[in-house]
């Protein structure tokens, strides 16, 4: 079954059409890359899925149910987590607290029990901390677990942001340019983590990415957008040979 299905999605800002009749199907446990030149509508697509923008037409089905009318926090709770193109962490908190925030929507105890930190509040804290530690272990950021996020190198901050999304226990993970601004080694690390996320954690990954080397290496399926429309989709091999894609990236020959 398709885990996420996007049907005839159209998004307009006044006169500008950001997305036009986009159709896309994401299968369970695949790495689905969305590529395209600048301004093609990739991030807008993510914002529609995570509920930040309301599309003017079309539908988004998550495990068969429409999520179009749900609020961003409801979508997040139902199992769609995301990271951002520019890091959006709480810079003055440490790594553990940032990751614990990824689990905030699962805390059930109220402020009163929290003050006494006894019974359910304590048990919950331990359970969530355990999960956070598993994510820390997974992403190999043990060394910085108690460091303030703002003081960490850029590449590590990106990893922490990925960690916060993973801490949410997502079924689908939206990664918006996970390797932007990274050097070759950091990019390779992230590529390995993305593969492990798919295989070990069995999470579906949808990513917007500009590093074509990485996309062609690890993606199972690629959707290409240009000026808000889908111009191609297929396996990396098919996409590399697609004339429309080459034209979109290198400019037309006419």
């Amino acid at each position: 079954m398709d885990q996420l299905e996007i049907k005839n999605l159209t998004l307009e800002f006044g006169g500008i059409v950001a997305l036009q009749q986009v159709n896309m199907k994401v299968r369970k446990e695949e790495i689905h890359a969305v590529i395209g030149p600048n301004g093609a509508g990739k991030t807008s697509l993510f914002n529609c899925i995570s509920g930040v923008y309301k599309p003017s037409e079309g539908d988004i089905l998550f495990e068969g149910n429409s999520i179009l009318n749900e609020k961003p926090h409801q979508i997040a709770s139902s199992g769609i987590a995301r990271t951002f193109q520019n890091i959006e962490l709480f810079r003055h908190m440490n790594v553990i607290d940032n990751l614990l925030l990824g689990r905030h929507h699962r805390f059930r105890s109220g402020p009163l029990t929290g003050i006494f930190f006894y019974g359910r509040a304590l048990r919950e804290e331990i359970r969530h901390r355990q999960k956070v530690e598993e994510v820390i272990d997974f992403l190999e950021i043990e060394k910085v677990r108690k460091k303030i996020v703002g003081a960490l190198p850029y590449g590590i901050q990106k990893r922490v942001e990925l960690g916060r999304a993973l801490a949410m226990d997502p079924k689908v993970l939206l990664l918006d340019e996970p390797t932007s601004g990274m050097n070759v080694e950091e990019t390779e690390d992230i590529a390995r983590f993305v593969l492990d996320i798919k295989e070990e954690l069995e999470v579906t990954v949808i990513m917007v990415e500009h590093d074509m080397g990485m996309v062609m290496d690890i993606a199972d399926w690629i959707t290409v957008l240009n000026f808000g429309s889908k111009i191609a989709e297929g396996t990396p091999v098919e996409i590399q040979a697609d004339l429309k894609v080459i034209e979109a990236y290198l400019g037309g020959g006419d």
Binding site: E134, E140, E142, K143, R192, D196, E199, E200
Partner: protein
């Protein structure tokens, strides 16, 4: 039962301590404990698991990966089945791994994680003996289809089933062991040529630990953190041999990168490390002091000389006058206590440096701040340590007297010969090299040293490293190199001058400290290379070299030096896995640069 072998000692400890903690490993941020009883179950199950996979007495198990509990389980399990454990450096590249697996005829490999498994799979076609790769952490490997792969957990599980069928086999196997059996093969880091596999017997290890424990006071209530790679004989000694003999607790850090933090939480009873790490700890302190606020810098400047004075009394075995003792106590409250805590050494009683000479200035510094580090002399071929100073024998530059059970003598050219039960059995598959190393029971160490009137040994250098200048003067390069490396800006120095008119030196700058200096002095740079070629950096290093030259006679001064434009790396074969310089490789690789200094 006489306990002549490590597994026999292990059984004794299990019966004696059962519910006491034998191992700790930090996992998911929490120290997980393993009692002696559970330790036993893991070793037994894994050993029986190996048996189900077709393990026979005399087979070798190679262990590849960072230190962890399973490393030790596999090690003891192989030995318990009359097999041999072979450690491989986790930093070795695929080619080096292949060399050792092939050279040692290993049938089984225990690999820690995906990274290590990939190295083995890359070269498996050239390893016809290989039967199984047993993987400790299966993360990222679940989709690998290779039939060679089996998980550590799975192996233990099948082992448990076999144990239920043959409940006496494991302990009987251990009882049938003999002290002369080879227990482990340790590959020497090989500063010259290919690594050689030194076979070490139970007798060798136990006679070494018996002698050494008369000098180092270990207690069964102690805790030690495993810091060096376990395939190195020094760490094997502290994480396996000593705990079997004494029964103390071994702690494994969460990962190599968190070692410093984890050390602080445990504060081990003993800390043994190589000079490179002692140097790094010192330069970290110095850099942090430079960046500290005025008051802290003042405290540091005022307190260290007090410690220096007191440590001088102690090193000369003179009583410390009362007022100095009081001042030292004040300095301890203000500085030394915090400093030791920072280093994770607050509770530590035994500080040891080995594997290479430590700079005298560093020794003095550590003694002044209340870290009385002692230098020892050991080598793989002596099953670990053979010279260790007692408390009153600690001298700057001296490595003390031989441990009980070891005899030594000096050859005509000063070469050190050693004899005793702890001398190794021989190099695996290389009788030629064995014949050269052991003559009439005397081990030819290839190290040159002197003995003072008290009988304390002072090491000069490796025999083949001694420089004979064109003028006929013998010079030990390590002495000069260590003086240079004491500078926080210099990470590595290689003195050159054999059969040449004067001495010259290749220098690798310390990237962290020099870039810090560059930032403070507003010098723009991008990479190591741009920093290394910057004229101001050259001037900075020039000053450091001049400073060092003042301490030496004219023939021993460095006339020319050159900063290397790349960092030395074990992957490029310039350093051994323990970060020792491979002189021959470097002299060949940087031939043009060296020749240019003599033009």
């Amino acid at each position: 039962m006489e306990e002549d072998t490590l597994p026999q000692l292990f059984l004794r400890n299990v019966n004696q301590y059962r519910d006491r903690v034998a191992l700790r490993e930090k996992d998911l941020g929490i120290w997980k404990r393993v009692t002696w009883g559970n330790y036993y179950k893991h070793v037994r199950d894994f050993a029986m698991g190996l048996k189900t996979l077709g393990f026979e007495p005399g087979d070798k198990v190679a262990i590849l990966g960072d230190n962890c509990c399973e490393w030790i389980y596999a090690d003891l399990a192989a030995q318990s089945l009359l097999g041999i454990a072979v450690g491989i450096y986790p930093t070795d590249v695929a080619g080096q791994v292949k060399y050792i697996l092939k050279n040692s005829d290993s049938k089984f490999v225990v690999a820690r994680d995906q990274e290590q498994v990939d190295k083995v799979l890359q070269v498996k076609d050239e390893l016809p003996f290989l039967k199984k790769v047993i993987v400790i952490d299966m993360k990222g490997l679940r989709r690998y289809k290779d039939p060679l792969i089996i998980s550590f957990e799975e192996t233990e599980k099948t082992g448990r089933t076999l144990h239920e069928q043959m409940p006496n086999f494991f302990e009987e196997s251990i009882r049938s062991m003999r002290a002369e059996d080879v227990a482990i093969i340790v590959y020497t880091s090989g500063t010259t040529g290919d690594p050689k596999g030194a076979m070490i017997s139970h007798k060798g290890m136990i006679s070494m630990v018996r002698g050494l424990s008369q000098i180092l006071d270990f207690r069964s209530s102690d805790s030690v953190v495993s810091v060096l790679p376990l395939c190195h004989i020094a760490e094997r000694m502290f994480s396996l041999i000593f705990p079997m003999y004494v029964g103390y607790t071994v702690n494994f850090a969460e990962s190599v990168s968190t070692l410093q933090e984890d050390m602080k939480e445990i504060s081990p009873a003993a800390f043994l490390n190589v000079p490179r790490i002692w140097e790094k700890m010192h330069s970290n302190i110095m850099i942090r002091m430079q960046d500290a606020v005025f008051f802290k810098r003042w405290v540091f400047k005022a307190m260290v000389p007090i410690g220096e004075r007191v440590s001088q009394y102690r090193l000369e075995n003179k009583p410390v006058p009362l007022h100095w003792r009081f001042l030292n106590w004040v300095a301890y409250l203000f500085l030394f206590r915090a400093l030791k805590n920072q280093l994770g050494l607050l509770q530590t009683r035994i500080f040891v440096s080995g594997a290479a000479p430590l700079s005298p200035d560093l020794i003095k510094f550590y003694h002044s701040v209340g870290v009385p580090v002692r230098e020892c002399y050991g080598m793989t071929e002596m099953s670990g340590i053979s010279f260790m100073p007692k408390d009153h024998e600690i001298r700057v530059g001296g490595v003390g007297k031989p441990i009980p059970g070891v005899e030594f003598k000096l050859g005509k050219d000063g070469e050190i010969f050693q004899k005793g039960d702890s001398v190794f059995v021989g190099y695996y598959g290389n009788p030629e090299a064995t014949k050269q190393a052991i003559v009439d029971g005397w081990l030819h160490t290839g190290d040159v040293g002197q003995v003072d009137e008290e009988g304390i040994l002072y090491l000069t250098d490796r025999k083949k490293d001694i420089i004979i200048t064109a003028g006929g003067k013998n010079i030990a390069p390590s002495e000069i190199e260590n003086k240079l490396k004491f500078s926080p800006f210099i990470k590595e120095a290689i003195v050159i001058g054999d059969r040449r008119k004067y001495l010259s030196c290749l220098i690798q700058i310390d990237l962290e400290n020099v870039s810090n200096w560059a930032q403070n002095n507003k010098i723009a740079y991008t990479t190591y290379k741009s920093l290394a070629t910057h004229p101001d950096v050259n001037k900075l290093i020039g000053k450091e070299v001049e400073e060092v030259n003042k301490h030496f006679s004219r023939v021993e001064t460095i006339k020319k030096f050159k900063i290397l434009e790349k960092e030395l790396d074990p992957d490029d074969e310039e350093l051994t896995a323990t970060m020792k310089v491979k002189r021959a490789v470097i002299e060949k690789k940087f031939k043009d640069i060296i020749e240019a200094m003599y033009r």
